[in-house]
Amino acid sequence: MTKRSHRFGLLGLVAIIAMAPLGFPNAYFYDVATTAMIQAVVCVGLNLLIGYAGQISLGHAGFFALGAYGSAILTSRFGLPPLAALAASALAVVTLAFVLGRPILKLAGHTLAMATLGIGIIIHIVLKTESWLTGGPDGMSVDPFSVLGLTIDGDRAWYWVCGFLLALAVWLSCNLIDSPVGRALRAVHGSEVAAQVAGIDTGRTKLLVFVVSAVFASLMGGVFAHKNGFVTPDLASFFRSIELVTMVVLGGMASSFGAVAGAVILTLLPQFLAGFEDYEAVVLGAIMIGTMIFLPKGLLPSIKALARRRVRS
């Protein structure tokens, strides 16, 4: 994608976020849309890793949950202001991602999948087990988010905050992709050895993106904790990590807007299946298989390719 199409896409996204509430009949819609946008920001970050750098992570829900629990624990048990808690948890996740990322990003393909999956599962089990700190399997409640005496309250307020964050995240990731780091990333995806030959420090580039994507997840975990008012260890479950990867792949790898689309579609899916909850797993599984077979590039890039072909003929 060129810089210009990025700018168009970003404007379109802002317009959609601004106009969407016109079609919301009640507060519940704001709530669902906010959840979708929180997931979307995580996916925009994860897409940098999966779509651009070509590295898989089956453990990103772990970073999300660490951010959520960091905010929950630091505000309620240690009395830190929410913004400081958010920053402190993000810093902790940066350290963790940096320390773990250095050795495990040397792995490729399936072994990297195994290592990241392991990190996610270990985080999940720790959150479930250390109940003196985390409340155990029942989870813990989180205070509302307030900064400088101003409290973000209600579904509408959260919608606008998360809408702003989503636009910001997409803008940041588009800038990153158009920067030298972005070009290095794409080179790593194409061929790591060739990238090295061209003088790119592939290890550092991959680590940078891994850490950035972990920070996106951690920050949004904190936002989610305050918005939801409650966190449980299942935020870190293997299933959640899979869901995040599926959102990225479904929407279209190597497209920030695709990641947003994937996140929105999969968050809305259970709403459409209301009354058919028993079939949710079957539908999700079928979507995952079907997308990969029929639209291997994901929804957005496939639609774009189709449109381009139409225009030409």
Binding site: I104, M114, I122, V126, T246, V249, L284, M292
Partner: protein, 291 residues
């Protein structure tokens, strides 16, 4: 203390044997196609659940086990035909998503068919524990170990003594060369899925009297089988067996002496440590990146 330790070793070997079977399932499919089949755990679940349902419906155990294993093999082959085969040329990431999708789909279908409750099988030869050097050993554990050893011997025979087994091995060494001498790599892949499903289902049937089975049982078993396969070195049969036993033993010892809450985390801690220091696993070949 010694008796306690022996007790933990028994339980570790029993679960390790199941991880080894699952790990072998991963290795066989990986060798045939470089695919990691994340639905491997669901084969274990389907085998166990199907056998339990059939026995509960009045079918004699040996027949129920046979039907359950055959049914699971069919599921494996359908999975290969409908989901993996059409995406053969797609990348690693696509195949990972497809097999994870397949595992979610199979679990969803199993939940529709069997509900969320636990099912169980009667122990094959009674519940009277045997006393061994102060520790107790359930007869079903002997069944698990015996069946797993028998399966491994049969696999060894299949891969080293039969033409088709050798053809599968040849494909794993070099697919193009194997195709050039007339080995159909599609048939090999189909057979690999059938064989892996068989290994999973057999494991599921023999372990269900000990652990019980519900539709979620396959997730952890599958992931630990994957850990076993990676620990031993992806694609190495011996590696998967040794990896499975190591995971089972360390897990049981750690759960018994340190903390039982972290039992499920142990396998992943081991695998992280091993991957950081020995990225190829214990018996893996050094991979060479072709540019």
């Amino acid at each position: 203390m010694a008796a306690q330790l022996l007790q933990l070793v028994f339980s570790g070997l029993t679960s390790g044997a199941i991880y080894a079977l699952a790990g072998l399932g991963f290795a066989i499919i990986y060798n045939a196609s470089n695919v990691i089949n994340f639905a491997q755990g669901e084969f274990i679940m389907i085998g166990g659940m199907a056998a339990a349902t059939l026995v509960a419906a009045g079918m004699p155990l040996p027949l129920a086990a046979l039907v359950a294993v055959a049914g699971t093999m069919l599921v494996g082959m359908v999975l290969e035909k409908l989901a993996v085969e059409p995406a053969r040329e797609a990348g690693t990431m696509a195949i990972i998503i497809i097999t994870i999708g397949a595992s979610i789909l199979l679990r969803g279908l199993a939940q529709l068919a069997w509900g969320k409750g636990f099912h169980t099988l009667p122990a094959f030869s009674g519940e009277r524990p045997l006393a061994v050097a102060g520790a107790t050993l359930m007869p079903q554990s002997l069944w698990v170990l015996g069946v797993v050893v028998a399966v491994i011997v049969a696999l060894w025979w299949f891969f080293s003594r039969t033409l088709f087994g050798k053809a599968m091995l040849a494909t794993s060494y070099n697919r193009l060369a194997a195709e050039l001498v007339g080995i159909g790599s599609r048939r090999v892949l189909l057979a690999a899925f059938a064989l892996s499903a068989l290994l999973g289902a057999v494991g599921g049937v023999v372990v269900t009297p000990i652990t019980f089975a519900n539709t979620d049982a396959g997730i952890m078993l599958g992931l630990k089988g994957f850990a076993a396969a990676v620990l031993g070195g992806l694609g190495s049969g011996l590696g998967a067996i040794v990896g499975g036993l190591i995971v089972g033993l360390v897990e049981a010892l750690a759960a018994g002496t340190l903390s039982s809450a972290y039992k499920d985390a142990i396998a992943f801690v081991i695998i992280l440590v091993v991957l950081i220091f020995m990225p190829q696993g214990l018996f893996g070949k050094k991979a060479v990146d072709r540019v």
